[in-house]
Assembly symmetry: C2
Homo-oligomer: 574 residues x 2
């Protein structure tokens, strides 16, 4: 396996053998390690000192379920700290087929330069992307398929990334060819834009299969791994309803962000629920799919395709986080409208969570009214068009809050919260405050932890343990695997051992998870990104209708980084 | 002496005896101590948890020269950390005449409420300021003088403060009645706006004179203190040319920010120099004044009044920092234009440094062209009018940089650098990086330190020592006093001892300076504000024309907070 190193200043591309120390690292773990090894934490996120790292999984390319995640990372223009965002889609596996474990994009080109990085069996090269300038991701996909074939892997940015806006994501094409799988959070699309890279195209002519140490053990372990996921009853909600299956549960817990995080239970939640989505898809038929896989090998298939009344796809998938942040958070109770807005976010190339939160803040400032779906569409189009208002909103909730002088701004480390209200599920407050990623639900959604979510007790331990687990899952595969495998970690290490000829015990996983988070935390300290608390309003304002506040004691926050749990922090160059 | 505590939520005003521990603290030191004692570092700067602290000097009210400074502080909406900004003017002494050592404004009113806090011999009360809504500071002054008399003290915000923009300052009236003395930096005007406070008016009917422990010793010490300032030859440049006397020296050192910090030496510098200003004022006569005092008792009188061709005042004063950031930094080489822009900044109520830096970033983004003075005037008017562009620029250089996706953004901790380029005077890089205030020249201008300003060696010690000295001067009086007294600290402590009956040695001063900075640093750590490095471009891009970069080694930055110098850090509640 190789690192493909692309210097956008000199346009030199080099292929580099992967050092031993990176062998078992992938996705988030590889980004954590490479960022600490190579990126100056004091660099400007959009400057030549930052790097855009695209990373694959150490399990990818071998038919292992859920291992085709693609990560994008580096220093975040949104938080100023380290960032890893990941997505499904088909591009990661195609990179592995070309022996590419990671792409490391360095330097910056001259202003105005715009490129495609094209990878095929002959190698990798930069080509002008002038004709794609300003195009939405769907337009990019269309142009790319016309030139490189429908079976190409695609990693692209929309106009928001070209504008270098901190809500811009990196979009990956899915099994239907839609560029609808965003490595959305933290503005890695802006970093890609700052590198003058509009798209990475990977031809489907790669033939490499990673070597396996013990074929028989591997096949057994792979089967057990997949079975381990499906055996867990909790996984079924994802296979049938996808992430939207959570909406009514989160609403019941008073954790559905509504009207810029004013309410946790919404009287209109049923209208945008997983059941409603499921019924609508079945009723409308056509291109609709209640279950759908985003990558080639996946036994969960949590994705969906949401069709309009004529059965024509509006967007695939429509996910919970989009529905919460663009729906209830903006007072929009109509799945058709939310689906269209989500599609627009994908096309403009922005993180629906961050933009939904920014629009919630803007609604408080009078820029729009809650419930005005058409106005939301207009405003997201403004982000794509790069109008001034579009740039403010496209810079995320914190910048919008500062510009409009608002105090109810649901961010930590400059990143907006996802659809898990931390007053309704108090453990999320610990996750949002302490994750090196900023307010990120994927760092540790605690709603399956055995705690009373409305009480402060036990949330620190719950969040910390889940954060460590998510970090090691994020190193290898889709985090939804954890639903099935968290109690069967031996199936996970068996798979790793069979491929890599290692002899790891299950304790390896938590050690790895801790190492990843420690690297990220150390990077942030060196970058000066150390806000570890929730916004004031969540600690003082009661969340309707249950009157909940975030009241985990400071002493629990203070204990989070204790050396007895983590061990010594690593040094990071600066 | 009292603390006047004003709760804007309940509208309750209480008078509180000053505890012993605050007795010798004033201005910056009092704000540091009160912020740590009373403000939750995790609060939102514009929320009810923050406080606006207006503090006076422990030497004020006794005819001590330069002791009439007024400080405004609390948690900064610009940096997210602690902030103290101070100004001259006549209001501080009038507060002391009413026994007010500090005003502590707490809570927040309902949206739309706007008040005057009126203080006279009968007490203090809140009155509606509805008729002043949206008014510039000069309009506020006019209305206030009509109602309360020309001899009233005034502390006011312009429309920028009402818009809660992070460039908004707190403006104090001077000896001519102009509201032209800004406690400008860090957005304390936005905090005042968030408290619904348009102005604080202090009637000139206060009669209190602070008690003095030893009258004879005090009179001798006061005389020696004033003489000590004037004996120092270095002070003469301030008495004759004011701060503008520095311009050509800083230009010679390659430290005059030009074209958004692209050059340090400007070929047009003579056009905006202190000599040019001096000559123009003498030539034009009329209301012009080459020297002028901002407060009632001042032997330095560094202020000036700049007249137009007809001898009519444009603005008083025109200072170096305004000339650098609104002049050379924006490519404007005409003092008349710079004076008009400065006046506009005072009226709109913004920090000329922060706005000048934001406009420099905006010029790089194509919002204006360098040298377009009329466009600059338009844009500052937009800040006052609260247009979207005005709000973006009025949020400061960092928000402007994020919105426009720029990398050359001259800020640390979100605050813009002043007119001391840290590549031309390398010690300023240490000051900007390490001061708890963000990039603030008043924290420690090192250009008088005995070091080679173009070399990295010795800058850490130079900056650290000056930071400590500035902190204790900032506790008592105008920092320009330091020019005369830094080598005669006994004249400083003699004065304090005579007033307070203490028996302090000169070591008290450095101990105090360290204590103040340690409190501020601890507050910032608790607030999660820990960026301590310069922007990437200043470490990589060579400053024209000498090709200088900021290259102080990281090890020097790392040594700054060493315990052997500072002692143990204080705990701060959170």
């Amino acid at each position: 396996m190789h690192f493909l190193r692309v210097d956008m200043t000199t346009k030199r591309i080099t292929i580099q053998k992967v050092e031993e120390k990176y062998r078992l690292l992938g996705n988030r773990g590889l980004i954590a390690r490479l960022s600490c090894d190579e990126i100056d934490p004091q660099c400007h996120p959009l400057g030549p000192g930052n790097k855009l790292i695209i990373a694959t999984s150490p399990l990818d390319g071998l038919g292992v379920t859920c291992a085709g995640r693609l990560s994008a990372g580096g220093k975040s223009p949104l938080t100023g700290g380290i960032k890893e965002a990941n997505a499904g889609g088909v591009a990661a596996t195609k990179l592995v087929r070309h022996r590419v474990k990671a792409i490391i994009v360095e330097g910056t080109p001259q202003p105005g330069e715009l490129y495609i990085l094209h990878i095929n069996k002959e190698g990798a090269r930069l080509k002008s992307a002038e004709s794609l300038a300003g195009k939405g991701t769907y337009g990019v996909a269309e142009a790319v398929y016309a030139e490189y074939g429908k079976d190409a892997g695609l990693i692209a940015i929309g106009p928001a990334g070209e504008h270098r806006l901190a809500t811009a994501g990196v979009f990956v094409n899915d099994t239907d060819g839609d560029p609808s799988r965003p490595a959305a959070r933290g503005g890695m699309g802006a970093v890609m834009g700052s590198k003058g890279l509009k798209a990475i195209v990977i031809d489907n002519d790669g033939t490499f299969t990673p070597p396996v140490s013990d074929e028989k053990a591997f096949r057994d372990a792979r089967t057990a791994f997949a079975k381990g996921i499906l055996e867990e009853p909790a996984i079924r909600i994802y296979t049938e309803y996808g992430t939207m299956g959570m909406l009514m549960s989160l609403n019941a817990l008073s954790a559905l962000p509504t009207h810029n995080f004013r309410k946790g239970i919404w009287e209109k939640a049923e209208e945008i629920s997983g059941d409603k989505l499921h019924d609508l898809i079945l009723e409308r038929g056509g291109e609709g799919r209640t279950t759908h896989k985003c990558m080639d090998v996946c036994v969960i298939q949590c994705s969906n395709v949401f069709p309009d009344r004529d059965g024509k796809k509006i967007v695939g998938p429509l996910e919970y986080e989009c529905t919460a942040l663009l729906g209830s958070n903006l007072g929009i109770d109509d799945l058709d409208k939310i689906a269209r807005i989500t599609k627009l976010c994908n096309d403009v190339g922005v993180d629906a969570i961050e933009v939904g939160a920014a629009l919630g803040v803007a609604a408080d400032a009078g820029v729009l009214k809650f419930g005005e779906a058409e106005r939301v569409e207009e405003l997201i189009k403004e982000i794509g068009a790069g109008t001034l208002l579009g740039k403010v909103l496209g810079s995320g909730a914190e910048v919008a809050g500062k510009t409009f002088g608002m105090t109810r701004v649901p961010v930590v480390k400059g990143q907006a919260m996802a659809g898990h209200e931390p007053r309704g599920i108090k453990g999320m407050g610990m996750t949002y405050a302490k994750s090196p990623m900023g307010a990120d639900h994927t760092a540790a959604a605690t709603y399956r932890s055995q705690v009373d979510h409305h009480k402060a007790e036990g949330q620190m331990d719950a969040s910390r343990n889940v954060q460590v687990a998510m970090a090691y899952y994020d190193n290898f595969c889709c985090m939804f695997v954890s639903r099935g495998l968290i109690k069967k970690p031996e199936r996970f290490v068996n798979l790793i051992n069979a491929i890599y000829g290692t002899n790891l015990g299950t304790d390896y996983l938590t050690t790895l998870g801790k190492e990843i988070i420690k690297l990220e935390h150390a990077f942030n300290i060196a970058a000066g990104v150390t806000q570890e608390y929730l916004p004031e309003f969540m600690r003082s304002e009661r969340l309707e209708p249950l009157g909940l506040v975030s009241d985990i004691p400071q002493s629990d926050y203070d204990r989070f980084w204790e050396e007895s749990f983590w061990g010594k922090m690593p040094d990071v160059k600066r």
